[in-house]
Point group: C2
Chain length 554, copies 2
């Protein structure tokens, strides 16, 4: 360690040890406030100015050289015009060669050096949270607050979590030990050292809806374990992660490291390079977030893979104390970022016998009407609707949502546009609610990405659970919500769903939403069901990226 | 937990916590003495009587029922006659159904219950160490002392290591936690629980040379994590592991558990059931020790796999203080169990410039002659030879060894039979030593299983290292030995070989042998090179067998 990197380790040692502790205790922790008001008063105004000058210009912040072209094709879902930023395009050979060169030095650093450097990058990134917020809005369609929180503090939390998990695993064995075996007449003494050896270059493939939040866990897990990383963003959502990589490269260069330890590998829809990169022998591990189809391809590669694919999240509505807060909670979970979160609920299983409440039974039909009314109440509220929904990222999602009524089933509430005062041209679609019979599996037993909610009429809560479990075993899920006041039912749902490796969130109302997964506490994905093989951040998410090797000396 | 299982946990709690501590500190630890003299004076005599009555009889010790036939085809390498023990044969359906039934209850037990039960089984197994020794001798051909140690205390150590590693991973997160997030005006409180959910039924496929040592890590790792296990032994080496399973089933039944939590799945060479079992959907994980060909098939299955395949272990001979102890050490490592250990050296890389010693340079030719002389000195010594060599397990190995002289290269020392006073008919082959040029890769760049040693003449130590590294990157290795008195050379060898995920053992003489991997300290395999994807016992070896699921409650 140089003095400089030693200083960075010492500077961030407290954050690191607090993070390691939080990860083990799984209690609430974040060093990055999620409230924009906690930051400089003029930060937002500066970021607004920044996004204006950034749009329609080349992105010059990277330290990578040797580009063969400049290209960009992002479209703002709020403006429905091109963002106009062009990014340098590099050949696969250039990216691979740079990564191989950088790997030689980075893999020789130790865990302390890397932890210091990497937490420093998070500090620098946090100074860009407002720029990142606008970059996220105008690529993903997330509303301002979500753009700020999900791409800013919450993403930094997940990155820090990966650093902490990595640090803990990298330091779990002594570097050196004297091993002594007594043979009666003499001792056999052997000196041993234990080294975590990096596996090699990683590739992280980003998605269009959460270009930072879903990228940084794999990116930082790859880096903390001594591997270099190529980040291949979705061509429609490059700007947010480009800022992150700019900041990481700056910190690396300032501390005497090869900036190519992390590279941005932008490509175009017309000339995608993802498979070329993923199949390259230099790439030893691939992190992926996106469709199940491409995710299955990634998993089929003969290398280490970490995937987050599609799933179908469900809720089981059995019994409640007070129905209204529950309906409001479901409505918000389904409307937040227009159902484009990987944790958004799609199927609501309700027994034909209705829902027991403290004030008596509410009929099935009234529950269905109540869900629709709660959604309408939320989206039609001009103070809540636009900021909850944001905009639809992709034209295909917009089309799918608007055509959902033709899937079959009974249309309870159609999608519609609402007015966004700030962005008149925003691509908006409120949730469509469709009631289906439990036998209509061809409709609801698959992911229908976007603001589409199916209410599935079942025979009983046991029936709901059986259908829900069978669905997640086949298609996977990131989460499952359940509302029940019955302890035995609660235990039954937890046991059955957990057996399918899906966590259950019970009786959330108020400020608790099924969609939110808190770093240091909630595992994002279990890695055990078809929705993906990774889990942010269990020990394996980092430990698979290096190999323990022990040498012996006499 | 019942009182009975609570008692077992309390009984073994000290052993468990000592094992967990040793695993972290990687210091010397064993609760099972490796010296037969540490056990009852009459234990050996009783075991001799036991093996006499066991041979040529049906093995009735299992609690499994519903067999379709009885079959056995083991041949004693020491007697070269059939062992004559027949084992119950079960249909794949019976095995799978039993495993599924047992899985339901076993997966609901907690880590304490399982740890108590499983350490109790090790205690019961330790009371059978002498029976196991004779069973191992007459199936594997290991000499008495190795049979006792490798299948007895050393295997129990590895089993305990897997239990300890599993216990540590299963208990690394709190079972319940209250998570509190402050929103300024109010606190959001969420109760969470964290559950390690077992992945399902495991299959452990054993090998013919180390039927217990290589089986119990996967078996106990599978069991401690809440999974049931089907053990498919090599048809030529069933008896040792049958005793282990008998003892496990006894402990399970005595404590009110389904004995089918562990099942013996014996088969025959004529009607193998391994692939049927491995491909069955019920089987969620497969542990395998054996050939690379079959191991590659196992790894290609769409399920969790842990493999130990073939590799080519090498030694690099550069410089020494005193050559004689080094030559004696190499001779012993190559002769121990006739080179049938997965950690036995095969290739000795020596520079054409010879070997520097404290007494001056020893020429390459003298080193070659010295290795041959050291082997001859060892095997021709009637007090050391038979007990070191043991017997050749398989006829194919015997044939390969005797035909090695025809591979090409320069025959330095041919294989021969030596006399074993106790077993006149033992299948014995002393190491054959062949000198090859570094260009003769078709000869030495592949595993030649058995007592076959290639001395590879290279241009320099750097050349030796380059050849050795390229070989292990292609073919894999469990270990690498090196002799050098030069610090820079030592670091260079460690760095290069570690980069290929192979550990290096430096300058072992006296009682230290490259072949030995000590539980709680040495990782057996790194999991990072083509010799296998498992590592006994890193955290992943257990953590991959279950899934963390966290539920949230309001």
């Amino acid at each position: 360690m140089t003095n400089q990197t030693m200083n960075l380790f010492e500077k961030h040692q407290n954050t690191l040890s607090t993070a390691v502790k939080a990860l083990a205790e799984r209690t609430y922790y974040t060093p990055y406030p999620e409230n924009p008001k906690a930051y400089a008063e003029d930060a937002d105004a500066k970021a607004k100015a920044w996004i204006s000058t950034t749009m329609n210009n080349d992105f010059k912040g990277l330290k990578q050289t040797g580009e063969t072209a400049w290209h960009g094709e992002e479209i703002s879902p709020f403006l429905q015009v091109g963002v106009g930023v062009k990014y340098p395009i590099f050949s696969v050979d250039t990216l691979i060669n740079n990564a191989n060169t950088a790997q030689k030095s980075w893999s020789k650093t130790n865990a302390n050096t890397r932890a210091g450097i990497l937490i420093e990058t998070l500090e620098k990134i946090s100074a860009r949270f407002f720029d990142i917020a606008y970059a996220t809005m105008h690529t993903t369609g997330q509303a301002y607050m979500m753009s700020f929180q999900a791409s800013g503090p919450h993403a930094n939390d997940r990155a820090l979590e990966a650093i902490a998990a990595g640090y803990q695993e990298l330091t779990r064995y002594p570097e050196q030990v004297e091993w002594v075996k007594n043979f009666g007449k003499f001792d056999l003494k052997v000196n041993k050292d234990f080294k975590p050896v990096a596996k090699g270059v990683g590739l992280v493939i980003g998605c269009s809806t959460f270009p930072i939040w879903n990228t940084v866990p794999g990116l930082y897990a790859t880096l903390i374990t001594g591997n270099t990383c190529i980040v291949k963003p979705h061509p429609k959502a490059i700007l947010p992660i480009a800022i992150v990589i700019e900041e990481i490269q700056n910190v690396l260069a300032e501390n005497g490291f090869d900036a190519n330890i992390v590279q941005l590998a932008a490509d175009s829809s017309a000339n995608p390079i993802t498979k070329q990169l993923a199949e390259n022998n230099t790439i030893k591990m691939v992190d992926f977030t996106g469709s199940s189809e491409f995710g299955n391809y990634v998993e089929s590669l003969p290398k280490l893979t970490f995937t987050e694919k599609a799933g179908v999240n469900s809720m089981i509505l059995d019994s409640v104390n007070d129905l209204q807060p529950v309906l409001a909670n479901i409505a918000f979970s389904a409307s937040l970022y227009s159902g484009q979160m990987c944790t958004a609920p799609q199927n609501i299983f309700v027994s034909k016998n209705g829902v027991e409440t403290a004030n008596g039974l509410v009929s099935y039909d009234d529950v269905v009407k109540g869900i629709a009314a709660a959604i309408t109440g939320l989206v039609d509220n001009p103070k809540a609707g636009p900021g909850t929904l944001g905009a639809i990222q992709a034209e295909a999602t917009y089309k799918r949502t608007n055509e959902a009524k033709n899937l079959g089933g009974n249309l309870v509430l159609d999608t519609k546009a609402i007015k966004n005062e700030e962005f008149a041209d925003a691509r908006i679609a409120t949730p469509v609610v469709i009631e289906v019979n439990k036998s209509q599996k061809d409709i609801y037993n698959r992911e229908c990405f976007g603001p589409v909610l199916f209410i599935v009429k079942t025979d009983s809560v046991e029936d709901s659970l059986e259908l829900c479990k069978a669905l997640v075993m086949e298609k996977g899920a990131l989460t499952c919500g359940a509302y029940t006041t019955n302890q035995a039912t609660k235990e039954m749902i937890a046991e059955e769903m957990n057996e399918a490796f899906v966590p259950v969130t019970f009786n959330f109302t108020g400020a608790g939403f099924i969609n939110s997964h808190a770093a240091f506490s909630d595992f994002h994905l279990t890695g055990g069901n078809p929705a993906g093989n990774a889990s942010f951040t269990n020990a394996e998410f980092v430990s698979k990226r290096f190999v323990w090797v022990g040498n012996r000396y006499m």
